[in-house]
C-alpha cells in the first residue's frame, strides 16, 4: 500500500507553493489554455520553439497542488528538449501516472514523485493537465482539456 507521503511529498508541496517558471511569456511561439473541469484547474502554458527546440517554457494559472506541481516540474524538464524528445517525455509521464508497473523511467527525474496519483485515479487528470497542454502546443492547438 502506497502511503500518502508518496503523493504529497515535499517536492510537490514545494513546487505548489513556489512554482518554477510561473510567468507570462510575451514572445511565446505557442500559447495553450488548459482546463480540468474536475478541480477547476486552469492554466496557460507558454512555449518558445526555436529550430524545433524548446527554448523557453512557462505557465500561469491556478489549481490544486497536483496540477500546479506537475506543471512546474514539467517546465523544468522541458527546457532545451527537442520537440521529439518532449513527445517521448509526454508518453513516459503518461505511463508513470497510469501504469501500475515498474520503476519510473530515470529520464523523468523528480517527476517520479507523481507516480503516487495512481492510487487516486480521480486525480490523474490533475497531474496530466499541463502535459496535455504541452502536447497540444506541439500539435499547433490552442486549447487542451482533460475531458
Amino acid at each position: 500500500m502506497m502511503d500518502l507521503n508518496d503523493l504529497y511529498r515535499e517536492v510537490i508541496v514545494d513546487h505548489n507553493r513556489n512554482p518554477r517558471n510561473f510567468r507570462e511569456m510575451a514572445d511565446a511561439t505557442c500559447t495553450v489554455a488548459g482546463h480540468n473541469p474536475l478541480c477547476g484547474d486552469q492554466l496557460t502554458l507558454y512555449l518558445k520553439l526555436r529550430d524545433g527546440v524548446i527554448d523557453d517554457v512557462s505557465f500561469q494559472g491556478s489549481g490544486c497542488a497536483i496540477s500546479v506541481a506537475s506543471a512546474s516540474l514539467m517546465t523544468e524538464i522541458l527546457k532545451g528538449k527537442s520537440q521529439a524528445e518532449a513527445g517521448r517525455l509526454f508518453d513516459k509521464f503518461h505511463a508513470l501516472v497510469t501504469d501500475a508497473g515498474d520503476e519510473a523511467d530515470p529520464e523523468l527525474g523528480k517527476l517520479a514523485v507523481l507516480a503516487g496519483v495512481r492510487q487516486y485515479p480521480s486525480r490523474i487528470k490533475c497531474a496530466v493537465l499541463s502535459w496535455h497542454a504541452m502536447n497540444a502546443a506541439l500539435h499547433g492547438d490552442t486549447m487542451a482539456s482533460t475531458e
Binding site: D3, L4, Y8, V13, C39, A65, I66, Y120
Partner: protein, 421 residues
C-alpha cells in the same frame, strides 16, 4: 427487519445508546478503506443503504420479479401490490391527501423536469418570470433555464447573504404579477441552509404563485408534511433517504396534476390507444410511462419504513448535535473557513482549509479512509457567489458518530501539516 424500535422520542441520549446497533444495519459501514475503517461523510451526495432495503430489492428479484399493472398471474399481482404499497408508504410519509398525488420518478432531477415541462412550459409567455434562489442545485436551475429559453420567460434569482441565508424580504419583493412559479430548495446541499419554506409558500400563494420545493436534502433529515407546508409540488430522491438510486418522488397537488399534460408517452400511462387518438390513464399512472424501477420503488418503501422506525426527530437531533460539535471543532482549526453559516442549518459542513485546494484536502482525507465531497457540489453559482473554485464538504447522517468527527479533525491536521512543512 433488524432495526431498533424507537424507545425515546426525544433527542440525544437514546440515539447515542442505540448507535452501534443502528450502524450494524448498514453493511457498508464495516468496510475498511485503504486499510482504515471507513468514515462516510458524503451523505449529501448519497446515503448508505440499510440491510432491509438491500434485502427488499433482492427479494423482489428472487421471489416476485414480474412486470406490474398488466399481468393476471400471481407474480405480477404480487409485484404490483408491493410496488403500490410502497406508494402508500410514501403518501403517508409526506402526509399527502391521496396516493394519486405521488408520482414515481428517477429522482429529484426528473421530478423537477416534469414540473418544468408539463406544468410551467405551457403557462409561460415572453416576459413571465420563474423565481428561484441563489442557492439552488443545478437540477433546480437548468430545467427552468430550458423552459425559459423555449418560452421567452425570465429566470429571476433571489440573492443570498455571506452567511448563506436568503436576503431578508427579497423573495417577497421578487414576487410579482409576472411570476408563474417559484422553485425553492428546502435545504441547500452546498451550504446546509434550511430555508423558511412554509413562510415562503404562504408569501407566494398570497400572490397566486404556485411553489415547487426541492426536498432532496430535506426528507432524510427532518419530518416533511406537504399539507402543513402547503406547497404545490415537492420533489425528492430515494437514494438520499437510504433508498435505491434511480428512484424518486414528485408530490403534486391533485388538481394541478389533473390538468397537466403527460410528460412522457408510452405504455402504462394510457387508457386506450389508436392511431387516431389516445386517452390517458388516471393519476398517478398518467405520469409513469414505461416499466418503472420496480425493485427500486419497493426498496424506497423499505427505506421509508426504516426511517420511520428509527424516527426522524431522533435522527435530526443526533445530526444537529454532530454539526454543533463539528462546527465548534472547526473554529479551533487555524485557517479553516466554514462556508455557509445560516442560523437554521442541516448537518452540512462546507469549508476551506488555508489556501489548500479542496481536492487536495479530499485526497488526504481519502488516504485516512474518510469520504467527503470536494468540488462545486453541482451548485456552481454558489461558488461564484463566494468567489471560490470549490469547497470541501462533510455531510452527516444519523449513523455518524462523534468519534468519526474526531477522526475528520485529526486528518485535517495531517493535511495542514503536509502543506505547511
Amino acid at each position: 427487519m433488524s432495526v431498533v424500535a424507537p424507545n425515546v422520542a426525544g433527542p440525544g441520549p437514546g440515539m447515542t445508546e442505540d448507535l452501534e446497533r443502528l450502524r450494524a444495519d448498514f453493511p457498508i459501514l464495516r468496510t475498511r478503506i485503504r486499510g482504515k475503517p471507513l468514515v462516510y461523510f458524503d451523505n449529501a451526495a448519497t446515503t448508505q443503504k440499510p440491510r432491509s432495503v438491500i434485502d427488499m430489492e433482492r427479494r423482489y428479484y428472487e421471489e416476485w420479479n414480474a412486470n406490474i399493472h398488466r399481468g393476471v398471474h400471481w407474480l405480477s399481482e404480487k409485484a404490483t401490490h408491493e410496488y403500490e404499497h410502497a406508494r402508500d408508504t410514501v403518501c403517508a410519509f409526506l402526509n399527502a391527501r391521496s396516493r394519486k398525488e405521488i408520482i414515481y420518478t428517477r429522482g429529484t432531477t426528473e421530478a423537477i423536469n416534469l414540473v418544468a415541462q408539463s406544468f410551467a412550459r405551457p403557462r409561460l409567455r415572453p416576459g413571465d418570470e420563474v423565481l428561484i434562489t441563489a442557492m439552488e442545485h443545478h437540477s433546480n436551475i437548468v430545467p427552468w433555464q430550458m423552459v425559459c429559453q423555449l418560452t421567452g420567460a425570465r429566470l429571476r434569482v433571489v440573492p443570498i447573504t455571506d452567511d448563506g441565508e436568503l436576503v431578508a424580504g427579497e423573495f417577497e419583493r421578487s414576487l410579482n404579477e409576472r411570476t408563474r412559479i417559484a422553485a425553492i430548495v428546502h435545504v441547500s446541499n452546498a451550504l446546509g441552509t434550511i430555508n423558511p419554506v412554509r413562510h415562503m409558500v404562504a408569501a407566494a400563494h398570497a400572490r397566486d404563485v404556485p411553489v415547487l420545493l426541492d426536498g432532496a436534502q430535506a426528507v432524510a433529515h427532518m419530518p416533511v408534511d406537504v399539507q402543513a407546508l402547503d406547497c404545490d409540488f415537492y420533489a425528492f430522491s430515494g437514494h438520499k433517504i437510504f433508498g435505491p438510486t434511480g428512484t424518486g418522488v414528485l408530490y403534486g397537488r391533485e388538481e394541478l396534476l389533473e390538468n397537466m399534460p403527460p410528460y412522457q408517452g408510452g405504455g402504462d400511462m394510457i387508457r386506450t390507444v389508436s392511431f387516431e387518438n389516445t386517452t390517458y390513464a388516471d393519476l398517478p399512472a398518467k405520469f409513469e410511462a414505461g416499466t418503472p424501477n420496480i425493485a427500486g420503488g419497493i426498496g424506497l418503501g423499505a427505506a421509508i419504513d426504516y426511517v420511520q422506525t428509527v424516527g426522524l426527530q431522533r435522527m435530526a437531533a443526533h445530526e444537529h448535535e454532530l454539526l454543533r460539535y463539528a462546527t465548534a471543532r472547526a473554529r479551533e482549526v487555524p485557517g479553516l473557513r466554514v462556508i455557509g453559516q445560516a442560523r437554521e442549518k442541516a448537518a452540512v459542513l462546507s469549508f476551506l482549509l488555508n489556501d489548500i485546494h479542496p481536492h487536495d484536502v479530499g485526497t488526504i482525507l481519502d488516504s485516512e479512509g474518510i469520504a467527503i465531497r470536494t468540488g462545486h457540489h453541482c451548485a456552481m453559482p454558489i461558488m461564484t457567489r463566494y468567489k471560490i473554485p470549490a469547497t470541501a464538504r462533510a455531510s452527516f447522517a444519523f449513523y455518524n458518530t462523534r468519534e468519526e468527527v474526531d477522526r475528520l479533525f485529526v486528518a485535517l491536521e495531517i493535511a495542514r501539516k503536509v502543506f505547511t512543512r
